[in-house]
């Protein structure tokens, strides 16, 4: 049962998040507010309350690849877009990765080392 009651918790945070998003800031999706509320709850509540949430989250996240298939299947309607835009797509995907990863990795390492030397 902990998985089911945890799922209820996750759904509750999402619905609360959606209400807040609609009322205050529609450009920030409801589930992101839900994530923030859930994080706040985990920090404040006792272990007996957080255990079901952790069980449900673990189960749900282990099936993330399954949940991602339906959105990705939409590819079957978009093959033409991919073929016609091979250059911008591969340049954007690879270029941003090959520049950002080394630069920011180096930055983080510098910052950590600078923090350790008084």
């Amino acid at each position: 049962m902990p998985v089911v009651s945890g799922l209820l918790g996750l759904l509750g945070f999402q619905l609360l998040g959606t209400v807040i998003s609609n009322l205050l800031l529609p450009s920030l999706p409801g589930p992101i507010f839900g994530l923030a509320f859930c994080l706040g709850f985990l920090c404040l509540a006792g272990e007996s309350l957080t255990r079901p949430l952790e069980a449900a989250a673990k189960t749900l996240l282990s099936y993330l690849p399954l949940l991602m298939i339906p959105p990705a299947v939409g590819l079957m309607d978009n093959v033409d877009t991919l073929q016609d835009n091979l250059l911008p797509i591969s340049a954007a995907l690879l270029g941003s990765l090959l520049i950002t990863v080394p630069v920011c990795g180096w930055l983080m390492q510098r910052l950590i080392r600078a923090g350790k030397q008084p």
Binding site: E54, L66, L98
Partner: protein, 233 residues
């Protein structure tokens, strides 16, 4: 015979059955091969498309029938709070380097992706589908759909980015002299979300923990940037 097949493929549960079968087969293949290119989402998606084509089911029908699975993406996003919560004690001592690197990195990744796509002639829909490609998939899809991108393209780009980032990341970081586990992990999670996190866990626990943290914080930070931009516009 054809009638029987048609009634089967039009059944409301047909798409869910096809997706779950394709997923299980893809998981089995991935576990057997341990090959990072065979990401379950990628293989599962291709298998599903082949099966749907064989049964002559179009995407509109599939989309409608798979609503059950789509609905769970919301709670899965909320569930990301749990790995984030577990990572919090680790960043306490490295709060400033982590947050600074994440902010610079997220802006850089978004900016470079949008600029490169635009310069090479991508239209708005394609650019907005590419922009959140380094963010974990449930969040990326929300952000893409909200800004005029195409959810299915984003799902594909997120997957490809994960594989590319996990394959090139460790080598790139070593080549550039980045050896600290916290820095390596954060970059892998930031650039290649869940796939990068799995790769980071192969290095050691510290690298893996920072990757999980990088993944969830990048998702939140990117969503905040989108929200800010949406409000100011």
């Amino acid at each position: 015979m054809t009638d029987a097949l048609t009634s089967l493929s039009q059944h409301p549960l047909f798409s869910v059955t096809v997706t779950v079968s394709a997923f299980l087969l893809a998981m089995w293949l991935y576990r057997r091969s341990q090959w990072i290119m065979l990401q379950p989402v990628l293989v599962g998606t291709l298998l599903t498309i082949v099966l749907l084509r064989l049964c002559k089911v179009d995407y509109a029908t599939y989309h409608q029938q798979s609503a059950l699975l789509w609905l769970l993406l919301g709670p899965a996003t909320v569930a990301l709070a749990v790995p984030l919560y577990h990572g919090l004690p680790r960043i306490r001592s490295l709060l400033l380097p982590t947050m600074l690197t994440l902010s610079v990195g997220t802006v850089m990744m978004l900016g470079l992706t949008i600029a490169l796509a635009r310069l090479l002639g991508a239209d708005t829909a394609l650019t907005m589908s590419l922009a959140p490609k380094s963010v974990t998939s449930p969040v990326a899809i929300l952000l893409s759909a909200q800004t005029g991108g195409i959810a299915s393209l984003t799902a594909t780009f997120v997957m490809i980015t994960g594989v590319l980032g996990a394959m090139t990341g460790p080598g790139l970081l070593t080549y550039c002299g980045v050896t600290l586990p916290a820095a390596r992990g954060l970059m892998l999670g930031m650039s290649a979300h869940a796939v990068g996190t799995l790769q980071a866990l192969k290095e050691d626990a510290e690298t893996g923990a920072f990757a999980a943290l990088g993944m969830s914080l990048t998702g939140v930070l990117t969503a905040l940037l989108y929200g800010l931009w949406g409000t100011l516009r």
